[in-house]
């Protein structure tokens, strides 16, 4: 099976510091893959390289949609990466605080719609139709993510857990092939984390692939089909949750962090 996302030899230097060192990673279609590692290992940097926010020093990023036709993502601007089918959430939530929940998700539809200046001014039939579709789709995504009763709130007024879900909703609105989640469970209570677990499975069941950065080992072990572990910018292990749980290198990297409660 061709992986939907394949990363080979990804390297990222900041001045003299090598934040990512020849990383390889694959995500197969319909899989939930986790990327774990101690603080400062370079996980977020990996996402930033993947989504075009950083320009990697070396390496290849390949995206293969189900209909074939592999595309290289290297050097694309962030918006083009999103158009190709990668969508992400941020570790430190980056919503549009003074826009409503609905508008936040509508922004996610931007790259899949076309209305231009003239359309906006004349509001012709196609533009109105498109606008209706944007709203309908955004509302349905929000309802699916349990945000249906907060549609008209300002994003900044949402409770923390809901803000995290709204970020996922906004990313889903871009119709991604692969969804990149950067610590989606951070700051959530156990109840919310359980709901998140279900939510991520539901998204996967709709055919999306998911790459997940997470510190909550219980969540990672229960969700993931496959896990990559990195430390100091290098990949130190990969495998199924069972293999990772018993991997000595991983245990060493996580020294002090209890892996047994998973």
């Amino acid at each position: 099976m061709t992986p939907v996302l394949e990363v080979t030899g990804l390297t990222m230097d900041f001045g003299g510091i090598r934040a990512l060192d020849r990383l390889d990673l694959r995500v197969n279609p319909g899989e939930i893959v986790a990327l774990i590692g101690p603080n400062g290992a370079g996980k977020t940097t990996f996402f930033n390289c993947l989504t075009g926010l950083y320009r990697p020093t070396a390496g290849d990023l390949l995206l293969t949609p189900p209909d074939g036709g592999t595309r290289r993502l290297n050097g694309l601007k962030p918006n083009h990466v999103t158009m190709q089918g990668l969508a992400r959430t941020f570790q430190n939530i980056r919503l549009f605080p003074n826009m409503t929940v609905l508008e936040n998700v509508m922004i996610g539809r931007h790259c899949r719609t076309r209305a231009r200046v003239l359309g906006a001014i004349f509001r012709d039939r196609r533009t109105r139709q498109e606008e209706r579709e944007i709203v309908a789709l955004s509302v349905s995504i929000l309802k699916e993510l349990g945000l249906g009763d907060m549609i008209n709130e300002f994003a900044k007024n949402l409770p923390y857990g809901a803000q995290r879900r709204l970020e996922i909703a906004r990313a889903l609105a871009t119709d991604p092939l692969v969804l990149l989640l950067d610590e989606p469970a951070a700051g959530m209570n156990p109840q919310e984390t359980r709901e998140l677990d279900e939510l991520i499975r539901r998204i996967r069941d709709k055919g999306l692939s998911i790459l997940l950065i997470e510190h909550d080992m219980k969540l990672v072990m229960s969700l993931s089909d496959y896990i990559f572990v990195m430390d100091y910018g290098k990949k130190i292990a990969e495998g199924t949750p069972e293999e990772i749980r018993t991997n000595p290198a991983v245990i060493k990297a996580y020294l002090g962090e209890d892996m047994d409660d998973a």
């Binding site: 926010l53 601007k77 826009m99 906006a120 709203v135």
Partner: protein, 405 residues
Amino acid sequence: MISLKDIGKACIIALWFVALTFPLMVIKVNPIDRIIIWRWHNMLWVGLGSFLCYLAGRAWLMRREIRLRRIRQGLEAELPQRTPLSRRIIQDPVIHRPLLAAGALFFLIFPLLFSTYQTNIMITALMYVVLGLGLNIVVGVAGLLDLGYVAFYAVGAYAYALLNLHFGLGFWTVLPIGGLLAATFGILLGFPVLRLRGDYLAIVTLGFGEIIRLILENWNEFSHGPSGISNIPRPGFFGIQMSLDHSITYLYYLMIAMVVFTIFVVNRLQNSRIGRAWFALREDEIACQAMGIDKTRTKLTAFALGAFWAGMVGVIFAAKTTFVNPASFTFLESAIILCIVVLGGMGSIVGVIIAALVLILLPEYLRAFSEYRMLVFGAVLVIMMVFRPQGIIANIRKTYRIGID
């Protein structure tokens, strides 16, 4: 409540103001009789006035602070959230419909009620309304600080002057051309500078505004230099010859139509896919890009559209004054237009309209106080920014809301 320290401070401030206004308020030179009149009593008034103003302002601030502290400590019930008057007026159709109708009627019969002179001033004010609404797209909605807006205004004005001079093109032909030309300039400038942010963007656009003015001033063969271009025809009306009075009235209605057109377009733009992207870009650039919004293109669109209105108003300006020279396009113009946007409340269409009318009409009607009018003008600006930093009408962007079933 007011301590001795406050009184001391008030004294110092009073002294400072006395010193500051000394040349303006006390010394009066009579060049004909070659004497200087010392108006010492003015000094007293300024001193006393600023002393009392400071104390009053201080007392007001202190009372508010004390109330806020009591609310925080739970000693006093929080005031029920009152919707501000301006918002109530705008949101309640029962109030704003008659108000709007009265306003529309007033502007429609304005030339019949007032002299040509007054109409002329109103035309200028309306031009600034359109300029303000144009810059509002760039600064208020998209959040790009543009200090060289006047350059696009100049492009429009000179487009009409030169195209008419060399090719005999008429007002109505050049109106869209001027707009498009300015928009092109906007894109040309935008490409290199829109990767800059905040202060840097402000400085570069400021520089651009000056460059355009200096070119117009120094490139004699092209723009006739500082002496400018005169005898620019007023707007025609199916080739009918009009008296001066009539053509001013005509220009007035033309300007009214222009304002209505601008409001319509700007309003639609704000509530569209592009308007949403502009607003989101102002909120968080990185999140925007990650959501698939082309940053450069979206900003360029805002820049070009803003420039487009400036260009069109430029054409109208040239037609109104029948004369253009570089002195009309100084940084002060950019600053005034920016003031209109900031004072009106960033992003608020109604606010910008009110601010433009106030800011342009106020100095005109303050002519009675001739030499102090700029002083009063400045004071009004400062007071506004102290007491209402969010602008006359705080950003009441129409958010997209739907009924939940």
